[in-house]
Amino acid sequence: MREHTEQMQLPRFLWVPFELGRPFGAPDEPEFQRRVLRSALELLERKDGPVVLEDFPDDAPAYTPSEAEEASWACPIAFHPAAEEHPELVTATLEEMKRLAPWHALYVERRGSAAPGASGLARERVAGLLGELANGEEAPEVETAYAIQEWLRLGCDDLRTWYLEAAQGQPGRGSASELRDWFWRDTAAARLIGSAATALLTHPDRILQVLAGRALVPRDYFPVLMPSSDPSLWETEGASR
């Protein structure tokens, strides 16, 4: 954040107004990315320290959809959320994945490959484990060398990444924030993660409580996905983002 940088008085800093996760603005925009990088590196030639804080002047270039994409973009992920049809979240998530699989295959065809999973667990397995945790199982047996807090975090990331890839296989292309909102607002998978996280808030292992309060569900989706949790409980501990 620019406000934090001002407080910390760093020697040379280029502030950019782009979305989190996108420090060089936008993908596949080499000219723009080069301008950002060059603007940062040129601060090294400045002699007017001890603090040089510059603002990059432009917003990231927006993706311009084609006419056909524009037409489909009003409802970019045109599914009926499976969770509306299935009361049981694991079943709903597995059904949702089946519906998304053809779109994911198209994404892989276009992109050449899918993101490699980090947890080492199949997404169906992750869904099942989340269901066990949501039902109060404290230590599900898992075929991994990772500790529970690690396979759980990485498994949820793998699941979300797969969904977002599938969404990008569809016609049209959402912005990062539109994709984010789609996943957290509309999918059974997000509700399943929220249910598991809610159960973990009272887990006997403090590490899992902290994980659930910080690193499984974005804070702005707590009211929807973890309604019994109070995000302020997790605000004062450490420096987690």
């Binding site: 910390m8 008085q9 060089f24 090294l44 990772y146 994709l179 974005p218 987690s240 983002r241």
Partner: protein, 154 residues
């Protein structure tokens, strides 16, 4: 990074609670012209090669990223749930501008690109806690004759 005004209220509130004390020292160093510098990237995006160990939730270690790495060899195990990784998958230069550095070298804007770049996972710790790791990286960068580093948050 990112305008506070663009964030949700709960996220903005959370971020503004963070204490960001000024550093004691003011290490404002000058050096050779940019066109003579050897440049490395140090990212806090939790990037690493697929074969490397994933970052843990609170992790003070680093990973090495060779300059010759292919985009498909990289993954991201940052612990933040607050940003999406789709852009990084579309174009690694969005967070790790290795191709852009090569272009700036070809144009003569910078002298050369380092052989090795480094990654940490930038969440869960305070700046002073990562200092030993950063001192180790500074030593490794000097051995690679690096005299300019682009620190890239995410």
């Amino acid at each position: 990074m990112v305008r506070l005004a663009d964030m949700s209220e709960v996220e903005r509130h959370h971020l503004m609670l963070k204490a960001c004390e000024p550093f004691d020292a003011r290490p404002f160093a000058e050096g050779a012209p940019l066109s003579e510098r050897r440049v490395a990237i140090v990212t806090s995006a939790g990037l690493h090669r697929v074969a490397d160990k994933a970052f843990s939730m609170v992790d003070l270690s680093y990973r090495v990223i060779p300059g010759s790495v292919e985009a498909d060899e990289l993954t991201m195990t940052h612990s933040s749930v607050h940003f999406d990784r789709t852009g990084f998958r579309e174009d690694v230069n969005l967070v790790f501008p290795i191709d852009r550095l090569g272009e700036l070298q070809a144009e003569g804007v910078i002298g050369s690109v380092a052989d090795y770049h480094y990654s940490v996972m930038g969440a869960g710790w305070l700046p002073q806690q990562i200092e030993p790791t950063m001192r180790e990286l500074a030593r490794l960068l000097r051995e690679d004759a690096v005299d300019a580093v682009c620190l890239v948050p995410v």
